[in-house]
Symmetry: C2
DNA sequence: TGCACATTGTGATTACCTTCACGAAGCCTG
DNA sequence: CAGGCTTCGTGAAGGTAATCACAATGTGCA
């Protein structure tokens, strides 16, 4: 039972979504082939990924949908509420706040931080906005473990330092600055401008293969961000 | 002179930004070590990436900043204006429109498409909004080669088909649906929810190493994304 | 001029991830 | 209950990308 890699974790969340759809349609069992087709990967890849969960299907019946869903949940999703804070309520910050609000029971954006005093103390999509100067204090108080950085590039390192000092262990960084953080803190970078440039490049090149990002795909979903 | 990979292209755009900063500061030459430090990669990686450009530095002087900038530009950036269209002017669509407007001379978002009639014909950040039904027509007329998909998940495949039929060769996809496109069309997926889940996971795991994303990076970016 | 040094360019190596391929195992059919 | 199919789990193989390591090279200095 190998350790799950960055990409495996991403795919597992994808299988989870696919499985939820299948369950909603009344399916009780699913073959690796089916999951593979829906997640656009190979069947072998699906089986390998599921291997790290320690979950087993049966030949002739495949995987049990409900059981696999629960297994993925207990492996990749937080068991109890994990709290998130966001710095920078601008274009991207707002989009994320709006999108994530109320969507995940165990992953909640509880606070936002701004430099612009006009936004202080307002409730934005149910999330209180504080001065960035109070970030450390609030993060500790609320028990936040994940931070999103959506501030201008030049402010990103400062915010990251504040986050790390306050005990945050994972950062989703939209700024185009590679952050310097101590070992043990996970950073996932999403550089939208880089993705645009890449798409433009490969559109000209007219490649045969699709890629990940997302990140990473990586290239897709992000195929790929980086760090 | 090997073919540039997905990740190499991403890093080259990053070096380009770093080099522009150096030039602005009056630096005329730069060593691979310096670029590496600023882009948070290894020096060997920088040299490998530059190798695909066919550009050469000199020992003892390193790379010539201006020359390398021009070389990267001619390799990864469009020589003449490349046009982009965006489907879905919601949270993400708006953020992108606002951010990219007027930022890149040779990469311009020229049109947007919506299903919501309230937005038709309005000018949003200098970009005309059309009905999605007219997408094929407008894309062909304007010579658009890159499409951004920022519509709800269920609409993504339909929009992708429309894009592809109209001749678009590269797609930046924010929907959480793996798109089915013919070979030769490049897709980069950015799944923000997946990135969030990953950050939350690795924050709990408290890993020692930072990762790319992604697209993926990618990942990252973006990390990694996928396809 | 010639030597000592730092850096480049790149073959070789390593690490990681994906795919292949096949033994084992459950299910259905007759 | 046995035989045939199909699928799972996984060791081995294959690919791709990152890193290492070193010969080649140009520089500045003595
Ligand atoms: N929007 C996009 O499409 C896009 C694309 C590529 C990259 N990015 C990157 O994403 C980041 C955010 O982009 P955006 O478009 O949302 O920017 P934005 O300017 O709309 O928002 C930034 C927000 O951060 C706030 N802020 C500034 N300094 C701060 C600080 N020290 N602490 C807390 N808040 C602070 C500002 O008041 C503002 O509201 C930038 O780094 C940008 O380069 C954005
Ligand atoms: N906003 C986020 O933070 C976030 C996070 C994760 C994933 N996503 C994904 O990104 C995509 C867009 O998200 P969003 O938050 O911007 O959504 P949104 O609902 O804010 O915007 C979607 C827009 O698309 C328009 N639309 C609907 N059908 C259309 C069609 N057929 N053609 C053209 N336009 C159409 C709608 O009118 C709306 O304006 C979704 O697939 C979502 O799953 C968004």
């Amino acid at each position: 039972m190998a350790r799950a890699s960055y990409r495996t974790i991403g795919r597992l969340t994808h299988y989870w979504r696919v499985l939820r759809d299948l369950e909603a349609k009344g399916q009780t069992h699913a073959y690796s082939h089916l999951l593979a087709a829906k997640a656009r990967v190979t069947a072998a890849q699906v089986r390998r990924d599921i291997m790290v969960l320690g979950y087993s299907g049966t030949p002739a019946r495949g995987y049990e949908v409900r059981g696999l869903i629960e297994c993925i949940e207990s492996y990749v999703f937080p068991a109890s509420e994990q709290r998130v804070a966001i710095a920078g309520v601008g274009n991207i910050g707002l989009a994320l706040l709006k999108f994530f609000t109320g969507r995940r029971p165990n992953l909640r954006i509880v606070s936002s931080f701004e430099a612009n005093p006009e936004k202080f103390d307002r409730l934005i999509y149910g999330c209180r906005c504080h001065s960035i100067d109070r970030a450390g204090e609030v993060i500790r108080q609320e028990g936040v473990s994940v931070g999103i950085i959506a501030v201008p590039d030049g402010e990103a390192q400062y915010v990251a330092d504040t986050f790390v000092d306050a005990g945050i262990r994972g950062i989703l960084n939209f700024a185009r600055t590679p952050l310097r953080v101590p070992a043990g803190v996970y950073v996932e970078n999403i550089d939208l401008a880089m993705s645009m440039d890449r798409v433009a490049f490969f559109a000209r090149r007219s490649l045969k293969k699709e890629h990940a990002a997302s990140p990473a795909k990586a290239p897709s979903a992000n195929k790929e961000s980086n760090s």
